[in-house]
Symmetry: C2
Subunit: 212 residues, 2 copies
C-alpha cells in the first residue's frame, strides 16, 4: 500500500491539499469520494474517516489523517523539501498565524455562508457527523465577513507580495481556495479598487498548481 488521498474534485478543502502536493512536487494517488451520492456517509468511508469529511490522507500503514492543516503537517514533515510551512521557528509560527487568519476569517466564512443558505444542504449546516439546521441570518452575516476579509487581505497585500510575507506559503493556498470558492459558490468577486488583491490573485492563478 502507498499513501493515498481520499478527495472530491469539487471540495475546496480537498483542493487545498491537492495544491499543496503539487507545489511540493509530490505524487500522491487520489481516490475520489462521490459527495453527490453521499458516499462520505457510507460504512466503507466511515472506516477511513468516522466524521464523513473529505479530504483524508491514508498512510501506507493504514493510519488515517484528516483535517487540512494536519495533512499538510504530515506531508511537510515527511517531505521537508520545498517547505510551505516555513523553515525557522519564527517563520513556521508566522505562516501558521496568517494561514489560520485566512482560514477562520475567509475560508470558514464562505463555507458558513454556503452551508447556511444552499437548499441542498438543509439540515447539514455544518459538515461532520451531526445534523444542524441552517440559520438564514447567519448566512447573511457570513457574507459580510467575506466582504471584510477581501478588504483586509487587499490591505495586507499592499505591503507584502504574499500572505505571510516575502515567500509563497500554505497561507496563499488557503487564500486562493477561498477566493475561488467565494466566486463559484457566492458569486462574490474582487472589487475593482482592490488592485493589490487582484495582482496577487493573478500571480497565484498562473502557477501550475492552481489547476490541481
Amino acid at each position: 500500500m502507498t499513501t493515498t488521498l481520499y478527495h472530491a474534485a469539487g471540495s475546496p478543502n480537498a483542493r487545498r491539499v491537492r495544491i499543496f502536493i503539487a507545489e511540493k512536487g509530490l505524487h500522491v494517488p487520489l481516490v475520489p469520494v462521490d459527495l453527490g451520492s453521499k458516499e462520505q456517509f457510507s460504512d466503507a468511508y466511515k472506516t477511513i474517516n468516522p466524521r464523513s469529511m473529505v479530504p483524508t490522507l491514508v498512510l501506507a500503514d493504514g493510519t488515517s489523517i484528516a483535517e487540512v492543516p494536519a495533512i499538510w503537517r504530515y506531508l511537510e514533515e515527511a517531505h521537508p523539501e520545498h517547505p510551505l510551512l516555513g523553515s525557522t521557528p519564527t517563520e513556521k509560527a508566522l505562516i501558521a498565524m496568517w494561514e489560520r487568519r485566512v482560514e477562520l476569517d475567509g475560508f470558514a466564512a464562505v463555507m458558513e455562508a454556503v452551508r447556511n443558505a444552499v437548499p441542498g444542504l438543509a439540515g447539514r449546516a455544518l459538515a461532520g457527523p451531526h445534523f444542524y439546521e441552517q440559520i438564514p441570518d447567519l448566512a447573511a452575516r457570513s457574507r459580510l465577513r467575506v466582504v471584510n476579509f477581501y478588504a483586509d487581505l487587499n490591505q495586507r497585500l499592499q505591503t507584502v507580495p504574499f500572505v505571510a510575507g516575502e515567500h509563497f506559503s500554505a497561507a496563499d493556498i488557503t487564500a486562493l481556495a477561498t477566493l475561488d470558492f467565494a466566486k463559484g459558490a457566492l458569486k462574490m468577486a474582487i472589487a475593482e479598487d482592490q488592485t493589490a488583491l487582484q495582482a496577487w490573485y493573478d500571480t497565484l492563478a498562473a502557477r501550475p498548481s492552481a489547476s490541481a
Copy 2:
C-alpha cells in the same frame, strides 16, 4: 528584551498558552491586557496585535505572534524538550488533527454560544477588528454542538487515555480549556454517565499546569 506573553487572566485562549508553557517548564513573563477596560482596542495594544485579540507572544526581536496554535508552534520549535505537538511526522499530524477537532467542535462552539448571547458582547459576536451582531438562534445551535462534543469526547476517551491517543498533548490542553470555559460561561457540565470524560478531566485537573 525577552519573549513576553500578552494575555488576560480570564481569557480561555490565553489559558491554552499558559498551560502549554507550564507543561513545557518554560518561563515566559506575562503582561496583562485589561479586557474589562477594552485595553485590547488601545493604540498601544493594536501596535502589538492589530486585530485586538489576546494572547499575543512578542519575541525578543519585536516580532508579534498571534493565534494559539501559532504561538504553540513557535514555543515547540524554539524549545523542543517535552514535546506537546508530537515527535514523529505521524504523531505531529494526529495531534494536529485531534487538537483541531476539539477546537472547532468544542472550544469554538462554546465561544460562539457565549458571544452570541451575553448582553455585554452585543455587537461583538466575533472577536477581532470587525463588529458583528449577535444571532440568538446561533447561540442555541452552538449549545447543541457543545452537548454533542461532550458525548463524542466521552466516547473517544473510552478507548484511549488522552485525546490524541496514548500521551498527553496540546489536544488535551484545548479540551480542558473547553470544558472549564463551558462550565464557567454556559453552566454546562459533564453528564453523570460520561464516566470516561469525567475520569480524564479529573486527571487533567490534577496536573499542576491546570492552575496556569
